[in-house]
Amino acid sequence: MITALAFYVFAAVLIASAAMVVTSRNPVHSVLFLILAFFNAAALFLIAGAEFLAMILVIVYVGAVAVLFLFVVMMLDVDFTRMREGFQRYAPAGALVGGILFIELFSLLVWRYFDTGAEEPKAFPAPTNGVNNAEALGRILYTDYVYLFQAAGLVLLVAMIGAIVLTLRERPGTRRQDIAAQIARAGTVNLRSVPSGAGLARIGIERPPAPEEERQAAAGAIAHEGHGGHH
């Protein structure tokens, strides 16, 4: 009962957000609705007992693909009004493709309804020995296919090295914090123990000059001795 209710809620939100992806005028809104659609689809996978697929959907599609879309939409100056110009011209072809897809899906349902002898669809052949399917996948991936798994990992590592090698440039003139050099600075900073409640002026602790003071000093060529924190 609760499962059915959850299913209808998630499915309704999924369809609504999918419709919003296509219809909303602002592309940023489209991408945000796409993320909502992904989350709802992941929830449907969870209800169907495919928690591995659900997590993959969230991690890969929401975490990487949708964020990439968002970056592209926001960073690149794509003129969406110009992209929408051909809408009238391409609408019939789009409608045809959509229509064919719809008829195919519909006929599948009809065929399943009338063909009583057909096998039940095997949505998720559940693992037998009481483990969930993420664990079952892991057991195969890290034992039988560990060689291929590690090789795939190395391929990704090489892709990463390649991307860095080909794109990372050391820009001239950038400043980096050099902690060792900062610590090794001698004689420019001195520590004093200060009685509490005493003003700076009264106890005569050196302080860096205010900007206009410094300018006056330079103009008057007066030698200031003992200025700490000169920069």
Binding site: D144, Y147, V155, V158, V165
Partner: protein
């Protein structure tokens, strides 16, 4: 499951990770020490390969036999020598970043995975692990338009080849029911032979691998990529990837699909013949020596694939001998090309070699040795490479193939000997810079191998014979 069987690969992969981890810390670039470490790791791996036991591991995805050991040693040799050629060049061209050596290491590892693959999935992953670093190092000189173009072209066409391989593999899996080579061999060991879908799958796999070895009709990327890539990278392209891909081609075709040889033999015959013809005729007009070497490598692949096309014990042995000798000739020739600098700038026209015979007699002599060897003039090593594949073709009754091979050798001798003529008889624009010591050593070593192979060919022939026997039983 005995994962220790794959010890050479594991050691090399971990060594690569270590070099990468240590290499990122120092402020200064650590190209030279990192390259030395990579060459050391490759040598260690070679020792481990020599001591490797035979058998299969990881549920039959990995195989080790004397064929894989032979080809792995050649791949490692190609990788180590390619890096050795790059040492001086990369420093002079400002490409001395330590990632280069790590990428070469992983490309070599990918080649080893391919050579040891006993499963279509391992084949694919090995191919990708080999190809990805190659795309990157082709474009390594990223401020140079030609280098970037070479990397991009190779990447796009390489992705296409990967797609072809995967499509072929999926067809083979669909029609034969397994991706494992041993299971495939069992499935095909029946009276009815291969189904049409399976044959289509095999042809797709051949096309993808022919692309990687740059055989006709999948050669079109070769001249541009060879010309645009940094010269040591070009040298590496002509060695490790070719050995690995040819080894894989031989293992796939003669192993699981050995029983349906009649189905793929005519494809290989055409590929081999086309490569020999194109390599001989298209190189004649080339003035850029890197483009010339690209066409030359297409021709050499044609001769080597002759050994696969005849599908016999002798053919396979000829192929192995050919690849070993080809690697050595190629390293030597590219050592000369890498050393071609005038006034500190790299030059790459054939005419820039003019007058080399007077200015640098040693380098000119070695280059002449390599050119005679490539042309297949008798006392040199290159002759024996060709001899064994032609012999296998004649013994298998492939007279047309052998005749085309001999005739194209004669044609290709023209452009090899033209280089010798330019070096000794033409007036040049001035002396080239003195070759650095590392390149002179490589030239002398490979040159001596070419000269002296005739005195002591037995060990290599025996090793190649044993390797061929291991694959065909």
């Amino acid at each position: 499951m005995s994962w220790t069987l794959a010890l050479p690969e594991l050691v090399l992969a971990v060594a690569g990770l270590l070099i990468l981890a240590v290499g990122v810390f120092p402020k200064r670039d650590t190209f030279f020490p990192a390259s030395m470490a990579v060459i050391g790791a490759l040598l260690l791996t070679a020792v481990l390969v020599l001591g490797q036991e035979e058998g299969t591991a990881f549920g039959g995805q990995y195989v080790s036999d004397s064929f894989s050991s032979f080809m792995k040693l050649l791949t490692i040799l190609g990788g180590a020598l390619g890096l050795l050629l790059a040492l001086d060049w990369n420093e002079k061209e400002g490409l001395d970043r330590f990632e280069f050596s790590v990428l070469v290491l992983y490309a070599t590892l990918g080649g080893m995975v391919m050579v040891s693959a006993n499963d279509l999935m391992a084949t694919y992953l090995g191919l990708e692990l080999l190809s990805l670093p190659l795309y990157v190092i082709a474009a390594f000189n990223r401020d140079d338009a030609r280098s970037s173009e070479a990397g991009l072209k190779y990447f796009v066409l390489g992705a296409l080849a990967s797609g072809l391989l995967l499509y072929g593999a999926s067809l083979i899996y669909g029609f034969a029911g397994s991706t494992n080579f041993d299971r495939l061999a069992e499935a095909l060991d029946t009276a009815q032979g291969a189904s049409p879908g399976l044959v289509v799958g095999i042809v797709f796999v051949i096309a993808a691998l022919a692309f990687k070895v740059s055989a006709v009709p999948f050669h079109m990327w070769t001249p541009d990529v060879y010309e645009g890539a940094p010269t040591p990278v070009t040298a590496f392209f002509a060695m490790a990837p070719k050995v690995a891909a040819i080894a894989l081609l031989a293992r796939v075709l003669l192993g699981p699909f050995g029983d349906v040889a009649a189905q793929w033999q005519q494809v290989m015959l055409l590929v081999s013949m086309g490569s020999m013809l194109l390599g001989a005729f298209a190189a004649i007009g080339q003035r850029n020596i890197k483009r010339l070497m690209a066409y030359s490598s297409i021709g050499h692949v044609g001769y080597a694939l002759m050994g696969v096309a005849v599908a016999s014990d002798e053919g396979l042995r000829g192929l192995l001998v050919y690849m070993a000798i080809y690697i050595v000739m190629n390293v030597g020739t590219f050592a000369v090309i890498v050393a071609m600098r005038r006034g500190g700038r790299a030059v790459e026209q054939v005419d820039d070699l003019a007058g080399l015979g007077r200015h640098d007699p040693a380098m000119a002599m070695w280059m002449a040795v390599f050119m005679f060897s490539m042309a297949g003039i008798p006392p040199l090593a290159g002759f024996f490479g060709k001899l064994y594949v032609f012999l296998a073709a004649v013994q298998g009754g492939f007279w047309v193939l052998a005749t085309v091979g001999v005739l194209t050798s004669v044609v290709s001798a023209y452009y090899y000997l033209r280089i010798v003529k330019v070096m000794y008889f033409d007036q040049g624009a001035g002396a080239l810079d003195r070759a650095p010591a590392s390149l002179s050593v490589v030239m002398a070593g490979t040159g001596l191998f070419n000269l002296l192979f005739i005195l002591w060919p037995a060990p290599m022939l025996a090793a190649a014979g044993a390797a061929a026997a291991a694959l065909l039983t």
